[in-house]
């Protein structure tokens, strides 16, 4: 039995992802095998960069598998998957940020934003973004004002609301793509658009990482992210543009020129999201936001490039198509 959500374009794109992961694993296997032949006896003796790459690829299999399964299983499963991602990101954020003892009840209210937002989206209220945000804004501000000491009010309130904006409102735009009535793009299908967005942005992230590691010496943002290079940025944009051009005919209503432009915008906004989370981590004095995904760091480290790209993509679709 083939689920109704699995359109031909979606199936082809998922098969393509499977192929990419197989190529990645095969390449890694070859590298490790050649190390062995050169006389390096054991797995533990492989260089740290290769070991980290192995962990990264294994995490990719799990993430891609869960995401693909949720897309195939239908809208409810996809919403649940995205809600869990929002929760994981929010939990990492709330663990890292400095809060006062008096702020503890508000940590709870902040979590309530997740079910609120995703239920509103699930029941077809496209305006859920502002509505859930307004409810949490009122609750958090009210409790902090009535319950806590006024010293540090602004810091606590704004710290919490920034977390809600990033983890729930911004990433919630991924789920808004699954409400076809709202976007007027029902013909193509929400799951296809979601897969297109996530694939293009994440591929850009990987390409930027690989290109930045391989070449490039100019470091445009040494204070925020000293490992980022100009070459990495260009490599990331090249990847998002090519991925967009390749996938757009399968998954989106875009023509060729439009696909290139959207790919460019997604690449640039992905990089901006990445840099924003880098600045956050530098401020908090941590290297990763968590250790949920071995080789990658935390959930926020993985989805940071979607934080601005997802809202852009959603509003672009609703405005132009």
């Amino acid at each position: 039995m083939i689920p109704a959500t699995l359109t031909a374009g979606l199936a082809t794109a998922l098969a393509g992802i499977l192929g990419l992961l197989l190529v990645a694993s095969a390449t890694l296997g070859t590298v490790i095998a050649s190390h062995r032949m050169l006389g390096v006896p054991r797995w533990t003796a492989t260089p740290p960069a290769v070991a980290e790459l192995a962990l990264r690829i294994r995490s990719w299999w799990i993430m891609a598998g869960a995401f693909a399964a949720s897309l195939v299983l239908g809208r409810a499963a996809s919403l649940l998957f995205l809600a869990v991602v929002s929760f994981l990101v929010l939990r990492e954020y709330q663990t890292l940020v400095p809060v006062r003892a008096a702020d503890r009840p508000c940590l709870f209210l902040v979590y309530c934003a997740v079910p609120l937002q995703y239920f509103l989206i699930g029941f077809g209220h496209g305006e859920a973004g502002p509505l859930a945000l307004m409810i949490v804004l009122a609750a958090v501000s009210g409790v902090l004002a009535l319950d806590g000491p006024p010293e540090g009010f602004l810091r606590s309130a704004s710290t919490m609301m920034w977390g809600v904006l990033v983890a729930v409102v911004a990433l919630g735009h991924l789920a808004l793509l699954l409400a076809p009535a709202r976007t007027g793009i029902g013909a193509v299908g929400g799951p296809a658009l979601l897969l297109y967005l996530v694939f293009v942005v994440q591929l850009g992230d990987v390409a930027q990482y690989l290109a930045g590691k391989s070449f490039g010496c100019r470091r445009p943002v040494p204070l925020v992210s000293p490992n980022k290079t100009g070459a990495g940025f260009v490599g990331g944009l090249a990847a998002t543009i090519s991925a967009s051009a390749a996938l757009a005919p399968l998954l989106t209503p875009f023509g060729h020129g439009e696909a290139v432009l959207v790919g460019l915008a997604l690449g640039a906004l992905g990089c901006l999201g990445d840099l924003t989370v880098s600045a956050l981590k530098r401020d908090l004095g941590v290297k990763d936001t968590g250790r949920l995904l071995p080789g990658h760091g935390g959930a926020l480290d993985r989805v940071d490039s979607l934080v601005f790209a997802a809202p852009f993509f959603y509003y672009y679709l609703t405005a132009v198509h």
């Binding site: 939990r91 990492e92 709330q94 663990t95 809060v99 003892a101 503890r104 940590l107 709870f108 979590y111 004095g285 968590g290 250790r291 949920l292």
Partner: protein, 211 residues
């Protein structure tokens, strides 16, 4: 039968909640003892500290874990006493001074001789998160009596914010245990206790958890 209940409670209820909701992580797990007798000491900010420390160990070791708990708090309420004895296998310890006639540490000594892994919170009570209290000397007396038993410091993070003193509802945040290197009796109680406090403060400093 009693052991079965304890093991089932930790394996089926505590561990899924800790790993699922609190992302329970153990750093330097290889430093934990694989057999008893041993003494685990940890900072104490929450009722979740003891279940979390249990979750550092493999299920096969659950029956030999024995948390040392204040009898004036844990045994004065019938439900609390049942939970403390049946689900955590506590060794009750009297905190009052007029218990001089009996050796207050007799239960702990007997357990160590039987090969148990004791869990002790040397601060004596749950303190404010982010502050390490002075250690009570009980663990020093035990180490003096059992000089071959290793003492392993463990620093717990975030549990004090998930469920602090007087709070009723836990908030999900990522919690972790940082296991330190084992220490042995130094021959002198003063230097031994200073060493333990220093080791714990060192672990806290590595994590950046102290204010």
């Amino acid at each position: 039968m009693a052991t079965l209940l304890l093991v089932a409670f930790h394996a089926v209820v505590v561990r899924p909640l800790l790993f699922g909701l609190l992302g329970w992580a153990i750093y330097h797990r290889e430093r934990l003892p694989r057999v008893g007798p041993a003494i685990i000491i940890a900072n104490h900010n929450s009722h979740l500290d003891t279940p979390a420390l249990f979750a550092m160990f493999p299920i096969s070791l659950l029956p030999i874990l024995r948390p040392v708990a204040a009898s004036d708090y844990f045994l004065t309420n019938r439900i609390r006493a049942w939970v403390a004895r049946r689900l955590f296998g506590i060794i009750p310890l009297s905190r009052s001074l007029n218990s001089r006639e009996r050796d207050p540490l007799a239960g702990c000594s007997a357990a160590l001789r039987a090969g148990a892994i004791l869990i002790i919170f040397p601060e004596g009570t749950r303190g404010e998160p982010g502050r390490l209290g002075r250690f009570k000397s009980g663990v020093g007396h035990l180490a003096e009596r059992h000089p071959d038993v290793p003492v392993i410091p463990v620093f717990l993070t975030m549990l004090g914010r998930v469920l602090p003193k007087r709070a009723l509802v836990p908030v999900p945040l990522l919690c972790a245990a940082h296991v330190g290197l084992e220490r042995k009796w130094t021959g002198d109680r003063g230097s031994f206790m200073t060493g333990l406090e220093g080791a714990m403060a060192g672990l806290a400093g590595e994590v950046g958890a102290l204010e």
